[in-house]
Subunit: 469 residues, 2 copies
């Protein structure tokens, strides 16, 4: 259908301007001040609202929403050991978790979600099917990267002295790649807003053969590539034990780095590693809240920007954040770095943060030509923020308020591919109240957990990381 968004405030080179935007089918057809286009059959009055391109939640694990708030502050290696103690979700929980992740992303300005999807062992295809069903129902643009690995969790920790050996995993590299082939065939439908990506969890748990198989799929079907990269100091130590070089050098040798490769975290990279990411035009996905929560460190985002590396924002899974509020990730992920460089001229300004969240996110998904800016010809993935909301008042600089403030229920409307999926501050495509009731009914408040996995792993972890007994 053709419709218009009238009298929206949009950022201009100097300050802001008021425009009327015409949308034809799934694309932005016109932006100007001539009034709504005559072909529009419906017009949204956007007076006192800020119009921005939709943001990208560029890294999350949707099913972790079932464990949010649960795991105490631990470093990644102990945190993940506790996470693995929980029973795998069933496909219906996958579906509900994806819906909840999508709702929080949408209501904080995101129109695209990158789900590094944890798979139910033995029900891999059903897992993907459940998440895809959720994203298609709610209408958010989704990149689903099944989280794959072919080595067991214990091999993911440095030993401190001898090279680690690959542990047995419940399924083979070949079976995993065959499953991925099926996932691509069944679910990869870019024109419907559903992209499959290859997403080995990272070098710490994946063989070179698994990476090679993923690259082959990526090249054959033009799929984006994703992975975790050097989230923790332990992973840096492990890479040297395993490869005799840095994790980045190893990925470079494998050929995994490209302009359609996005890498989550990227904290423990040396300067030469960072330059390699720049040379290969990779995207760094910054997950500031998760990095703080797990004590992983502060990613050198200002330096990446100086090197010309594209940076996007992610919430990461809700067991390590523990929310999917993209505006929170954008705020903390931009302001955090002011403490890492005394020269304020290098700091990230709110408009730059918005550009990272929108265009930076699109670039990381190889869609900079289709998404991320308000330009005619681009896909209509759009968000309207209500500037009369108390959390955005008094009126000052709208983008300053949005990024440096704490907007609460400020998203008034959102469209993906020209389809309106949020109106009057509510998601219109699913029944959020039913979702809320389902999440309530399928969970219970927890007494202090005691993790047996953490108890077992703690001593070797402390030894290898040089922490006192």
């Amino acid at each position: 259908m053709n419709f218009a968004i009238a009298q929206a405030l949009v950022p201009a080179a100097e300050g802001y301007t008021t425009v009327d935007v015409g949308i034809e089918a799934d694309k932005i057809a016109s932006i100007g001040s001539q009034g709504p286009p005559p072909t529009a059959t419906q017009t949204t009055n956007a007076q006192n609202q800020l119009l921005l391109p939709g943001f990208v939640n560029a890294h999350t694990h949707s099913s972790e929403i079932w464990q949010r708030g649960t795991i105490p502050p631990y470093p990644l290696e102990l945190w993940i050991a506790e996470l693995h103690e929980f029973s795998p979700p069933d496909p219906e929980q996958i579906y509900l978790g994806a819906l909840a992740t999508a709702v929080e992303t949408l209501l904080s300005g995101g129109t695209t979600v990158v789900d590094h999807l944890v798979l139910i062992p033995g029900k891999e295809i059903e897992t993907v099917e459940a998440a895809v069903r959720a994203y298609q129902e709610i209408g958010i643009r989704a990149f689903v990267g099944p989280l794959i690995q072919d080595q067991s969790l214990e091999t993911g920790m440095p030993s401190g002295d001898s090279p680690t050996t690959s542990g047995d995993y419940y399924t083979s590299t070949e079976e995993i790649l065959a499953m991925m082939g099926q996932v691509v065939e069944r679910f990869h439908q870019p024109e419907a807003g559903l992209h499959v990506m290859v997403a080995p969890t990272g070098g710490q748990l994946c063989s070179d053969a698994l990476f090679a198989g993923c690259m082959e799929l990526s090249d054959r079907f033009d799929l984006c590539r994703h992975a975790h990269l050097l989230e923790t100091k332990a992973q840096k130590m492990l890479a040297w034990e395993k490869y005799g070089c840095s994790a980045v050098e190893h990925l470079q040798r494998l050929g995994y780095l490209s302009e359609r490769t996005s890498l989550a975290h990227c904290i423990w990279l040396d300067e030469s590693d960072r330059q390699i990411l720049a040379d290969h035009r990779c995207t760094v996905v910054h997950n500031p809240l998760s990095n703080l929560r797990l004590g992983s460190g502060i990613a050198p985002i200002l330096h990446y920007r100086q090197l010309g590396v594209n940076v996007a924002f992610g919430c990461d899974g809700a067991a390590s954040n523990d929310a999917q509020d993209l505006l929170e990730a954008i705020k903390v992920g931009s302001l955090l770095h002011n403490t890492t460089d005394f020269d304020y001229r290098n700091w990230i300004h709110p408009r730059e943060a918005v550009e990272m969240a929108a265009l930076g996110g699109a670039k990381g998904l190889n869609l900079a030509g289709e998404l991320g800016t308000l330009e005619t010809g681009k896909q209509a993935d759009l968000v309207l923020y209500d500037l009369t909301n108390l959390s955005l008042l008094p009126r000052t600089d709208p983008i300053g308020l949005l990024v440096m403030g704490r907007p609460s229920q400020a998203v008034n409307a959102a469209w993906v591919n020209g389809r309106q999926i949020v109106a009057n501050g509510q998601v219109t495509t699913i029944d959020v109240d039913t979702l809320r009731q389902e999440l309530f009914a399928r969970s219970q408040w927890q007494v202090n957990r005691q993790s047996e996995n953490v108890r077992q792993l703690e001593a070797p972890y402390r030894r290898v990381m040089g922490l006192s007994e």
Copy 2:
């Protein structure tokens, strides 16, 4: 009146328990599992709600809400230069700013606000009157510390070589202290939930005589003491130029440090300075978002806790945050420090963060005997969080969700001194929609500002801080 809160979930030594709480007049009269007390004339059903003592927003500047979102990311010294370019607010704006600050504080779990109140030059008493009127109307517990200084802004920056000289200020030390005396006489009514505190802005802009006069008032009227302390590296440099010793040693010699002294920021303290704060049982008010936004640094909060220094949380003024969401300050202010210490055993757990926000806040105001815990005999400053809210689902650990998640509109009810001022998620004592309209009508969206003050101050600032031209 006597009333009851029935079937509320509260934290217990192991996990959670369900209790009925009886309130008589302004105090908690009973907590148990025997059903609501028979004297209760009204009962609030708190099923599926978490009951916690109210938090303290332990440092803010309410009128800065008029500039939130406006000033670009700058270090404090340039930021404050730009802040001073704005016309002083009128008393009605003071009133509205205090209301807006109180609303955001209340709806994020705070029942007490510490307003380090910026005064309108020449209308100092009217400023205090306007803020006090707002706080009494809305019913939040308030500590109002008129922000006083007797030296001009230019003297607040280190010169790099010669001792700074005190600049002329528009009014004298004696006049300021006389004004403070009037403020105490007119407005200090602890039993009504309105406390005046002495609050010289800090050594960088205050004479020793001003501190001495404040101490005299504090001793005579039993007032809490407040100040900024070593927020920036420049302030540390300035103190050495001005005093020939650290700012903390100087405050110690003056006698300003005590168990009723709370000090905002406390970032640039040497270990010996930190020990002085511990020895004098001072409270550190941690304002994490402001510290990130201004690039001031990361306060050594884990070390303070190891030394036994009491720590509370503040939002700081909305021009440097730019919100008054206490739950955001608690989340970032606890998780941030995980990156400063590799040993996760020192990290702040969600229950500890809640204790810092409630009891830590109360201690800093010398009210640990009256506030900050759920105990019979304490004042009924209470908050109920709706655990069926989507942002707190699925059900896991309620306090984990509250602190590490991103609660949105989760405060369902709040009481101060036994008076209910939030019900069904809405402030009941003022008309928030009218407030919203007033804030809208008295402001306008801004085009990119260019600060003349920053332009002038930038070169000397960069020189003294060792930044390239």
